[in-house]
Symmetry: C2
Subunit: 214 residues, 2 copies
């Protein structure tokens, strides 16, 4: 169930501690000594195993990205959403990874940028297939739609603390996730506007939510 995350070497324990702390507080707010304490080792050992804090960060990025892309036999390589679904299904175990994954896109790393671009490419392909098969309506700007959908998907990760709080649970929970999932399904199925009344032209504002000027 856990792949190689529970190789219980000290180096892995340090990396896991770093993933927890960096995910929770961001890289800049995470000190080598804090990681050491969290992992139950000395500060020197953190540097001995990873060379520097920067390299530790890169190691964490690589680990998370590998876990989220090259998962399990039987999965298409790069099937990120299947991996994330698996993580959601066992929150107590994988919550730190989900939090770190969200942090990846707001802490700006090259790893985060690369993953984002790959997700857009995948989304693009899937949408094109859906359009070809008739399951999905075409868009006037397919690339913008792909970017929009990836952005929306990732917002569940980057804003997870606010979502959880607003939905009443202190942390991520299966209940919150399925409520959000169902709301998203509604949205993606028929939008929110009734067929007759469609707003004229959308300004470049923060989205239709607050742009219901009729």
């Amino acid at each position: 169930m856990r792949s190689r995350s529970d190789d219980s070497t000290t180096k892995a324990r340090i990396r896991d501690a770093a993933i927890r702390l960096i995910g929770q507080n961001g890289f800049a707010a995470t000190s080598a000594r804090a990681v050491a304490t969290e992992a139950g080792v000395s500060a020197g050992l953190v540097i001995h195993h990873f060379g520097s804090m920067r390299e530790l960060k890169v190691a964490c990025d690589d680990f998370i990205i590998t876990e989220v892309t090259h998962r399990k036999v039987g999965m298409g390589e790069g099937d990120v959403s299947a991996a994330v679904s698996e993580w959601y299904a066992d929150l107590p175990t994988f919550e730190p990874w989900l939090i770190y994954l969200g942090r990846l896109f707001t802490d700006d790393s090259v790893a985060g940028a690369d993953l984002f671009d790959r997700l857009v490419a995948m989304s693009h392909t899937m949408l094109a297939e859906g359009v070809a098969s008739g399951a999905i309506t075409p868009s006037a700007d397919e690339h913008a739609r792909a970017v929009l959908l990836v952005t929306h998907s990732l917002s569940t990760l980057t804003l997870q603390s606010h979502i959880a709080r607003s939905l009443g649970s202190s942390q991520l929970s299966l209940d919150s996730l399925s409520r959000m999932g169902n709301a998203a399904l509604e949205l993606y199925t028929h939008g929110i506007y009734t067929p007759s009344t469609t707003p004229s032209q959308e300004g470049p504002g923060s989205g239709p939510t607050h742009d219901l000027r009729h």
Copy 2:
């Protein structure tokens, strides 16, 4: 056009410099000396005017939140989207504010949490009005829908660097924003699925984008 942001007092210059740096790099990665240099003053003056770095952060939060909520005569108080639209319309001037606003939701501050909750409440009200007038379809879970729409709206802010890069511009641009706006309009008007074929049940994954398992 600019409200009181260009009161050219030294204190305001320091605050603006802090908004730029904290927005760009996050609070933890922003030192008092860096703010001082950016503002063209000494480090001591930063503390003299604001008391401490923490209080400077609070002052920046307060300033941005005031600017984004209590704007202009003729606006309904708390009309955040109108303010943000105005900011978008003059990017060279307001880009730092937009970046800071995005940072507000990922750096977790009480100010960010409060604003998020207020946005959800506003979204809730507007959706209810739309449903009552027949312009918007009802949802099985109105609260979850409100949270979802706010989350999606804010993702344009929190992930703006990725959006810009993926759409080909190095920074935020009016072109990128209107492309995203139009894609969102499409989505909110009719979703992405064709009326006949609707996916069965949505898992709690990262969203329908990658969940097109047919």
